[in-house]
């Protein structure tokens, strides 16, 4: 009756052998493909490093002005622009300017990558479902992958990334991007699926090609939803920055990690609050921009 008390497991030796075999297989894959993958990621590394260098080498008053300008262009709101300037000044005054620039550079590059890959994947998911009403195969394949990506503890996929690419900025960037990409894929898919069927039919009736339909109808009408996805992606990228510091990503995450290890309460709180500050900046600015895109919906005939 032992099997009732204790769960019958695979015997220890076999389990170890299995784990070893998988590890070995992945290690061989790493050895065979690591350099190739690294070579393919070279443009990303170049972009990342130059972005960081640009933000660090530009004198802080100019950077501050640039941020204020971007916030103004996106939101057209004095309140939001003022908030951005105030937050950044405060961060700088408390001596976290450089780390903040590193974190922002990382977040911006990761978000751009997520948009570049995420939006086309979202479009593919939505369109395979709309074009052939029965077949949702692309969505049926990608959705479970996204589920895994979103629920897998973020530390876990640091492991293969480190095995493949070592430690440093680029593996960190990849980890951040993988963690942050699901919302933009999901919301692009959703936004396109929610486009009014009547308007789509009208576009078809006038002989729109598939590209014209995407460009003129589906993307513009899905844009507010896609912007919500971009906003979510930015937030998740920021959340991942601390975790990524474990594999050598510099920025606000690193002091937080040190604070955890050494119980430096104030260091942790300061850097934590700086992350909160830039999260709020990104969130308010991107949301205000999303809202401005929907201006045509506001003035309703009464």
């Amino acid at each position: 009756m032992e099997w009732l008390v204790e769960f019958p497991t695979m015997d220890g030796a076999r389990l170890t052998a299995l784990k070893k075999a998988i590890d070995l297989g992945f290690r061989q894959f790493t050895r065979a493909w690591g350099p190739t993958i690294e070579w393919m990621l070279e443009p990303v590394r170049w972009f990342m490093i130059n972005m960081e260098r640009l933000m660090l080498n530009t004198p802080w008053p100019i950077m501050l002005a640039v941020f204020a300008l971007i916030a103004w262009a996106a939101s057209r709101s004095k309140k939001i622009t003022g908030g951005v300037i105030f937050t950044l000044v405060l961060i700088g005054y408390f001596g976290m300017w450089e780390d903040t620039m590193r974190t922002i550079a990382m977040t911006v590059v990761a978000t751009l990558l997520a948009i570049v890959f995420g939006i086309p994947i979202g479009i593919a998911m939505a369109r395979s479902g709309i074009a052939m009403a029965r077949s949702n195969r692309v969505q049926a394949t990608i959705n479970p992958i996204l589920d895994v990506m979103q629920t897998m503890p973020s530390f876990v996929y640091l492991i293969p990334v480190v095995m493949l690419l070592g430690i440093g900025r680029v593996p960190g960037l990849i980890a951040v991007m993988i963690y942050a990409i699901p919302p933009i894929i999901r919301l692009t898919n959703l936004g396109i699926r929610l486009v009014d069927k009547d308007v789509l039919e009208a576009a078809d009736a006038f002989g729109s090609s598939s590209w014209q339909r995407l460009k003129n109808v589906q993307m513009p009408l899905a844009l507010p939803t896609i912007m919500a996805g971009v906003n979510q992606t930015i937030m998740m990228a920021l959340a991942m920055v601390v975790v990524a510091s474990m594999i050598g990503v510099q920025g606000l995450g690193l002091p937080v990690l040190q604070a955890i290890a050494n119980q430096y309460f104030t260091l942790g709180i300061f850097n934590g609050l700086a992350i909160v500050g830039i999260a709020i900046i990104f969130d308010r600015t991107s949301q205000a921009y999303g809202k401005r895109l929907q201006k045509h919906l506001e003035t309703v005939h009464g």
Partner: protein, 348 residues
């Protein structure tokens, strides 16, 4: 403009479901809509539709909701594929076109106006109106020139830069009409185009359409559930019920000789004076009274009664093209024809 592109619908069937072609023969053999639905879980959309729509005229397809009229109009530009049957437009079978040919056909031969307007909410009136030409790839200044002309023609000058949400329903549908007309296609498909509008605005839009049609002479397919609208607009009317054509003919045919009780019920409430023409009820070849006022053939009874009253006479002479007298008409016969015949009341 290719004037007078006629449309021939031949033996068109549409069955909705997972395996529609399996049931075509059964439906042709007389399986009812109910049996198909209950026993086989397929919906019969259209059964054996044969309609000839003359080029340059307005053909109205009338029916209540669920009769298949919106399904039928979507077969003309193949927004819906038929299960079997032919849709000949100017001699070409739309159902056999490949994707590229179909797209070209939709771009150049048809334009459509929708019940719920279906405008692009993120585009201004002007940018909505140019849509058809933009899709065709015309230069922008040409697009705008055409669009502005039609925006003015439907009475929306000054609203070019407004968004659809800023306009009332009637104005939005004018944009829908301008968008379709800017396309300059010989066929205009109007799917319950005026049904969502208030009665007064609907009348107004009908007048706009009739005025325009005198000038553009397009082949118009107009879908409606409103018999008065059908009679006002239609050169030819086809009445649909449960996916089948119950009767087709001129408005006068339908009012005077309803094919069955269903249609008789419909036409009972119609103002006959506006539908029936004088030559239909005149005493052919009879010599008119000396005091008779001349009235040309093609005048409605209502108009004739008005003219006779104005002239202070009880008799009229119906005249043909060159003023030749075709027959005589008395006020008594005229009023008799304008009131609903008793037989229809009984039939009801």
């Amino acid at each position: 403009m290719a004037e007078g592109l006629g449309i021939e619908v031949r033996g068109l069937y549409k069955i909705f479901g997972t395996n529609p072609s399996a049931f075509v023969d059964a439906v042709k053999g007389g399986m009812t809509k109910k049996e198909l639905n209950e026993r086989h879980n397929h919906v019969l959309g259209l059964r054996d539709i044969n309609i000839s729509m003359p080029g340059g005229g307005i053909t109205v397809v009338m029916g209540l909701s669920g009769s298949g009229k919106s399904t039928l109009i979507r077969h003309v530009n193949r927004l819906i594929d038929p299960t079997v049957g032919e849709m000949l437009v100017g001699g070409e079978d739309v159902t056999k076109m490949g994707p590229d040919a179909l797209r070209e056909f939709r771009r150049h031969k048809t334009a459509m106006v929708f019940q719920k307007f279906a405008l692009l909410p993120h585009r201004t009136v002007l940018d909505n109106t140019v849509y058809g030409l933009e899709v065709q790839g015309l230069p922008r200044d040409k697009q705008e020139q055409e669009a502005r002309r039609w925006i003015a023609r439907v009475g929306l000058s000054g609203f070019e830069q407004k968004y659809p949400n800023q306009l009332s329903g009637g104005m939005q549908q004018r944009v829908g009409l301008a968008r379709a007309l800017t396309n300059d296609a010989p066929i205009l498909l109007m799917d319950e185009a005026f049904s969502a509008l208030d009665p007064l605005i609907r009348m107004d839009m009908q007048s706009v359409l009739l005025d325009l049609q005198k000038e553009i002479k397009k082949t118009i397919v107009f879908i409606t559930h409103d018999l008065d609208e059908a009679l006002r607009l239609g050169d030819k009317i086809a009445i649909l019920r449960d996916g089948e054509v119950v009767q087709q003919g001129s408005g006068q045919d339908i009012v005077l000789k309803p094919a069955d009780e269903y249609i008789a019920n419909f036409v009972r409430e119609v103002n006959r004076g506006r539908v029936i023409f004088v030559e239909t009820i005149m005493a052919e070849g009879a010599k008119p009274d000396a005091k008779a006022v001349p009235i040309p053939a093609g005048t409605t009874l209502e108009e004739a009664a008005k003219r006779m009253t104005e002239a202070g006479t009880m008799a009229a002479a119906v005249t043909g093209q060159n003023g030749k007298v075709l027959g005589a008409l008395s006020m008594q016969a005229l009023i008799g024809a304008m009131v609903t015949p008793v037989s229809h009341d009984k039939a009801a």
